[in-house]
């Protein structure tokens, strides 16, 4: 497993297959210019959530971004040095390039950016000591729902704006599970391990 192969797999599992907005593309270019060694990561970061996401939400979503990359690398059984490099580059990218943040107290729109809305609101709940299950299932949920998006993308014209609504119906169910699940301590270690590391089916 090489770092480049890992990036390809991350892109396949986590990134949106649809064309992203101009704002996100420009943000990716600026990130790559400022931090050329992390350009591969930068191109992943901008495709990690939704095609129409306002780029100002990227920094607010950074904890989830790190969680998704790190956990997926673990699921892919990437060697420790490669995982360490991934995390180091993510830190470097964040430190070198802090995108403009949004001062809005609102959340990303569920109807336009369902992935971002799910991750942002769930992480906020985790920060307030709720929805701890999110930390364990975030990557699994992201990968599975992204797979649904991959299934819909070829028929994008027929789905129209319902793609986001369809995705959110699944993410909403996941959010409910995170919010109302028993504490993590109630999950047996094997189940937690399975949720984090996967059984290999999605890989």
């Amino acid at each position: 497993v090489t770092f480049e192969n890992l990036l390809v797999d991350l892109d396949r599992l986590l990134a949106t297959p649809r064309s992203i907005s101009g704002g996100l593309r420009q943000l990716g270019q600026r990130m790559s210019t400022r931090c050329p060694e992390a350009s591969g990561i930068a191109s992943l970061v901008i495709k990690l959530y939704d095609p129409c996401l306002d780029e100002r939400w990227i920094l607010a979503l950074w904890p989830s971004t790190q969680l998704l990359f790190a956990t997926t690398a673990t699921r892919l059984q990437a060697p420790a040095p490669i995982r360490r490099r991934l995390v180091t580059l993510l830190h470097q990218l964040r430190n070198e390039f802090q995108p403009a943040t949004t001062s809005s107290r609102l959340r990303p729109s569920f109807t336009r950016a369902p992935f971002a809305a799910f991750h942002w609101s769930s992480w906020r709940a985790v920060a307030h000591r709720r929805a701890r299950l999110y930390v364990v299932v975030a990557t699994l949920v992201h990968i599975r729902v992204r797979a649904l998006e991959h299934g819909m993308a070829p028929d994008g014209m027929r789905f129209g704006s319902r793609i986001e609504a369809n995705l959110y119906s699944y993410l909403r169910a996941a959010r409910v599970a995170c919010m109302y699940a028993e504490p993590l301590s109630e999950l047996i270690p094997d189940l937690r391990h399975e949720l984090v590391h996967g059984t290999g089916d999605d890989i």
Binding site: L106, S109, T111, R112, L133, V137, L140, V141, R144, V145, L148, G151, M152, D155, R158, F159, G160, S161, R162, A165, N166, S169, Y170, L171, R172, A173, A174, V176, A177, M179, Y180, A181, E182, E186, L187, I188, D190, L191, E194, L195, D201
Partner: protein
């Protein structure tokens, strides 16, 4: 208990969710199905063939407006008006020549279908088919000869000539063949001079009057405000109707006996009567009376048993008078009795009418019963007039505050007008969406019921000028949206692109809801003039339709009370075009009655 599998995790989370929020089982079940996909091992693919997955396709106009905003263009000039509309296929020429319109050939997906009770639906369909093809015979339906036999046996002697238990038997069987009360309902009959807490069906022997408890559906009358009560017709949970003269005389003769003795005899006689034959006569009577012109809801009311009848919902909406019910019943029964008399003549059986020569109005007053939120017409006109006076033009060039207030009032007014024109439910979700209005033929596609148990959508006819008003309103809404997006910091993230009705409250654009309508009315100082729940137009509609003797059974499907057989069923012989004209005519009458100006 430790959770060992994903299924247990899902079950426990949703159990907690239901306990803490009280959501319905169907919502939890839909979440469970999705969680099995995102956490469990179930595989799924969302396909475009699924109607719910693709129904709301992206709207070209909205997309263009959004794109224009992003590019900071002059939106007012560049945004063209090519609103997508409901496209109905034309009726085939042969059908058109026979008077059918495009609406008669609407694609099947527009009509709701019952997903459950397939066998019952199949039976109903066959039954309705027989009925529509004028085959009235059905092994379960009592025929004219059965009624002729019963009438000849029961009513051919004068009440005074009947004695003892036979008098009681005549009353019991008379209630079955004149009002359609089944033996099981009659066993609950109690004696009293008015409503009683311990019974749903009371007979007043002295006055010769029946008291029938109405089912309570969806409303808690205790929570209605005093102001609402003062601005609405008086109502009651107890319906009452005087008995027809023959049965009234029998009841009065029985009244001379001791009360406990009557009821004891009642119980004994009821046991002796052949229930199966009587049940058949009683069960079939509402159908015969409906054919003779009695509105279905009144026919069901007089049976004393509303449970599980298709008119249960309608019964909660109407406010009628004792005299109205009595006259409607007598009129239909007279028509039915003429057929029975003809059958008796043919068979050389004796016949005597139970109605007597004439029906004088009751001397004991004309009490109103039923819904308590049917507005008094005078109060309603006063409120609508105040709302119309307060309306002003929403100027896009003015301040945001002025624009928001004027727009909110316009939206509320238009919503009121629409709900009085077509008896829509108070919206819980954008009830009318972009592209769902057909102003040239006067139809709208509404989705006004969105409960956990059902999602209902239907086509509703609308007077042409009201459909055009709605179209104009949607156009104005587009301009307001553009103004809000381009030149203000108003949050639009909670507003669906395809919502036609929206308000601007606290710096945020939101879909119209009952709470927001109330808020706007309060802000404009009109709150006190509108004390009724926003469902009041539906109550007024059905009540007035009954009073105006409109064919309520034909109107009900358009206002969302769909019960078999539907007028637009596959073998229907009725033209929807004609039905829609009835609906439009009633809408126009009621709009005028409520005090709305012609736009």
């Amino acid at each position: 208990m430790a959770l060992a599998t994903t299924s247990e995790l899902i079950r426990s989370a949703l159990r907690n969710y239901r306990t803490q929020t009280g959501v319905s089982g169907s919502t939890a079940a839909s979440y469970a199905a999705r969680l099995r996909v995102v956490l469990g091992e179930q595989r799924h693919r969302i396909r475009p063939g699924s109607r719910s997955a693709t129904r709301r396709a992206s709207h070209p106009t909205a997309a263009r407006v959004l794109a224009a905003i992003r590019q900071r263009e002059d939106i007012g000039v560049s945004a063209t008006r090519t609103r997508s509309r409901l496209h109905l296929p034309n009726a085939p020429p042969d059908a058109a020549r026979e008077g059918e319109g495009a609406i008669d050939w609407v694609p099947a997906q527009f009509w709701t279908r019952s997903p459950a009770h397939a066998r019952r639906a199949q039976w109903r369909k066959q039954h309705a088919t027989m009925s529509r093809l004028a085959f009235q015979h059905d092994s379960r339906t009592a025929q004219l000869a059965d009624y002729a036999s019963a009438h000849s046996r029961l009513f051919s002697r004068a009440p005074r000539a009947i004695t003892g238990d036979q008098r009681i038997s005549t009353l019991i069987e008379g209630l079955a063949v004149v009002y359609g009360m089944t033996p099981s309902t009659l066993t609950t009959l109690t004696q009293g001079s008015g409503p009683r807490d311990d019974s749903d069906l009371v007979i007043d022997f002295r006055e010769g009057r029946l008291w029938i408890r109405l089912p309570r559906v969806g409303y808690n009358n205790d929570t209605l405000s005093q102001a609402c009560a003062e601005a609405s017709r008086s109502g009651s949970d107890w319906a009452s109707v005087p008995l027809v003269p023959y049965l009234r005389d029998v009841a009065r003769l029985l009244h001379t006996q001791q009360e406990p003795a009557i009821m004891r005899s009642f119980a004994e006689v009821t046991r002796k009567i052949e229930r199966r034959r009587l049940a058949r006569l009683a069960r079939s009577l509402p159908g015969w009376l409906t054919r003779c012109g009695l509105p279905g809801v009144l026919a069901s009311l007089l049976t004393g048993d509303f449970d599980y009848t298709p008119y249960l919902a309608t019964s909660a909406y109407i406010n009628v008078s004792e005299q109205h019910v009595r006259m409607a019943h007598v009129s239909a029964f007279r028509c039915f009795e003429a057929q029975i008399a003809a059958e008796c003549r043919r068979r050389a059986w004796t016949f005597a009418s139970v109605l007597g020569p004439g029906m004088a109005p009751s001397l004991s007053g004309n009490r109103h019963f039923g819904s308590r939120i049917v507005p008094l017409t005078g109060r309603l006109q006063q409120a609508i007039q105040a709302l119309e006076t307060r309306r002003r033009e929403a100027r896009l060039g003015g301040s945001l505050t002025a624009l928001a207030r004027a727009w909110n009032l316009t939206a509320v007014y238009t919503w009121f007008r629409l709900s009085w024109a077509a008896a829509l439910r108070p919206c819980r979700d954008p009830v009318v969406r972009r592209g769902d209005v057909e102003p040239e033929t006067g139809w709208i596609f509404v989705r006004d019921k969105d409960s956990p148990f059902s999602r209902e959508s239907r086509l509703v006819p609308l007077a042409l000028r009201d459909a055009q008003l709605l179209e104009r309103f949607a156009h104005d809404g587009d301009r307001v949206r553009v103004r809000l997006r381009a030149m203000t910091r108003t949050a639009m993230d909670q507003l669906a692109d395809d919502a036609v009705f929206f308000l601007v409250v606290d710096g945020r654009a939101r879909s119209l809801s009952a709470q927001l309508v109330r808020l706007v009315l309060q802000q404009e100082g009109l709150g006190d003039l509108f004390p009724w729940p926003l469902n009041a137009p539906r109550h007024y509609w059905l009540t007035r339709a009954l009073e105006l003797e409109m064919p309520i059974d034909q109107i009900e499907p358009f206002i969302g009370h769909s019960h078999e057989p539907l007028p637009w069923g596959s073998l229907s012989l009725v033209s929807l075009k004609r039905l829609s004209e009835t609906m439009r005519r009633l809408g126009t009458i009621l709009l005028r009655e409520a005090g709305f100006r012609a736009e």
